[in-house]
């Protein structure tokens, strides 16, 4: 005998998505256009329009500014140059545009959400399970509805990327704020700080290393989504990986794969270097208290 009751949410969910598409499809296309025209396309045009040599110089300067080491900067530039040698420069710029826009959106959503969770226990209790779902739900489960709502192309790719990549930023923002030394916040309160002053003057600066670590993770995860995003029509390096798989052209796939890895390393080194310069300051913070009496 079958002990399982026959429960299925397939039909109602399908109906809900259908009505969503038919009723809000048009207004969602406005969102679509806004993201494309206002965000992705201008950045893509800018990145692809900039001559490669200038781009390499800019990357080099950024890398030097972040790491303060000539050798590191040179290595980062060499990695980018190698991607160009593979003939993938244009695709690289498209991928970079996608990652940048996704990351910007993720910061726009993730930072305030992380702050909210750190300040309100209710928000924390409500949102943490949502984050768990976002991180564990297989990507395709929300990729397909996103395509149905926004059509094939870059926008559903960006949205799916944001859903996937925003979680570490939210978590690490919250963690960073929660880990601020309670004696420092208490001292701030004792001087008549408002909540806003505490957040801006104390909590956010002290949480910055953690927030930067979250940002680093977000960029890395956004990059990891590039291949999957290419399945729904986002252009870029993932496209070549996909084409390589589909035509059994292992070399082509590997080449594009290596390019993605190199880009990941480049972005990782630069964002980590920015996080660490702050971290050094905070590692040595005034923690050596006597601690004779804790209240």
């Amino acid at each position: 005998m079958d002990i399982f009751l026959p429960i299925s949410i397939k039909a109602p969910v399908n109906r809900a998505v259908e009505t969503l598409v038919s009723r809000f499809g048009d207004s969602l296309h406005v969102v679509n256009d806004l993201l494309l025209q206002g965000g992705l396309l201008p950045i893509e045009r800018l990145l692809r329009g900039t001559p490669a040599w200038l781009m390499l110089i800019l990357i080099g300067l950024l890398a030097w500014h972040a790491t303060r080491r000539l050798a590191h900067a040179a290595g980062i530039v060499a990695a980018c140059y190698l991607i160009g040698c593979f003939g993938l420069w244009d695709l690289l710029m498209q991928t970079l545009a996608l990652v940048l826009v996704s990351t910007a959106l993720a910061v726009l959503i993730g930072l305030p959400t992380g702050i909210l969770i750190s300040q309100s226990r209710l928000a924390r209790r409500l949102l943490l399970p949502v984050l768990d779902v976002m991180q564990t739900l297989p990507t395709f489960v929300y990729l397909i509805p996103a395509v149905m709502l926004f059509g094939l192309g870059k926008v559903p790719a960006i949205l799916a990327t944001v859903v996937y990549a925003v979680c570490p930023l939210i978590r690490l923002t919250e963690l960073g704020i929660r880990q601020v030394d309670p004696e420092i916040t208490e001292a701030a309160w004792s001087f008549g700080t408002t909540r806003w002053q505490l957040l801006v003057g104390v909590q956010l600066p002290l949480a910055l290393p953690s927030i930067m670590a979250g940002l680093n993770q977000t960029v890395m995860m956004a990059l990891a989504m590039v291949v999957i995003a290419s399945m729904i029509g986002a252009r870029g390096l993932g496209e070549d990986v996909l084409a390589g798989i589909q035509t059994l052209d292992v070399g082509k796939g590997l080449q594009a794969g290596i390019a993605i890895v190199l880009l990941a390393i480049v972005i990782d080194r630069i964002t980590q270097a920015y996080g660490q310069s702050q971290r050094l300051q905070n590692m040595t913070r005034s923690r050596e208290t006597g601690g004779h009496e804790s209240r």
Binding site: S190, F191, V202, T289, G290, E293
Partner: protein
Amino acid sequence: MNPVEIPPPPRLEARHISKIYGIAAQRALQLLRSGADKATVQAETGCQVGLHDVSLAIAAGHTHVIMGLSGSGKSTLVRHFNRLIDPSDGDILLDGQNILSLDAAGLRDLRRRRISMVFQGFGLLPHETVQGNVAYGLLTRGEKKATVLDKARRWIDRVGLTGYHDRHPHELSGGMRQRVGLARALAMETDILLMDEPFSALDPLTRRDMQQLLIDLQAELQKTIVFITHDLAEAFRLGQRIAMLRDGQLVQDAPPEEIRHAPADDYVARFVATLG
């Protein structure tokens, strides 16, 4: 024409302060009032008694030391005076006015203009310079940046940190950090200063220097200081009056000589014995 000298009214006063930690605080309070002791209350209600019926008057311009062992409630008590902790029962008066009735804005104003505080672990902002730390409270209460930096520099000089205004806290020794903490509190120019074991984390020599610094400053500034310590030598050196706390209750509140010659009980006597 009254021949009897009327003592000055206290600047700060705690009246019958009790602090209970736990959800059944009301029931715990009732038990305490009916004469139950700490252990009974904890067994019956699950509540921790932080303070029980403490009344203390702090005279203007005096250094009033609050002493006790770890867990005696002295750090809890001092936090009631600027309401970092709110009491479960009792009143806190500042110049005769009950500060428990203040709303959020009133409380901020109290902390910005009347009472400042120095912490055992310094509580400095690691990402700010010495000058930024000293200026913190002034900026918080909305003073102009130009005048603030000037004021901060003066107080940095006053506590003996001339030339260190650009440094970050992690570049300083413990004693220097607490000088920053002291300058930050003094820069507020409040008439009341709360000091929660400010020198306990320092080595004995540095501690002596800091005590001397405080004595010198106090001779000039005449602030009302509530000073927490577990070191009776420090209490004798700094205090005009010493309050002894034990298990959240006030055991004795008297001038140093009286503590020395007429300890109220065994607990106080044992403290005095450590002086040799």
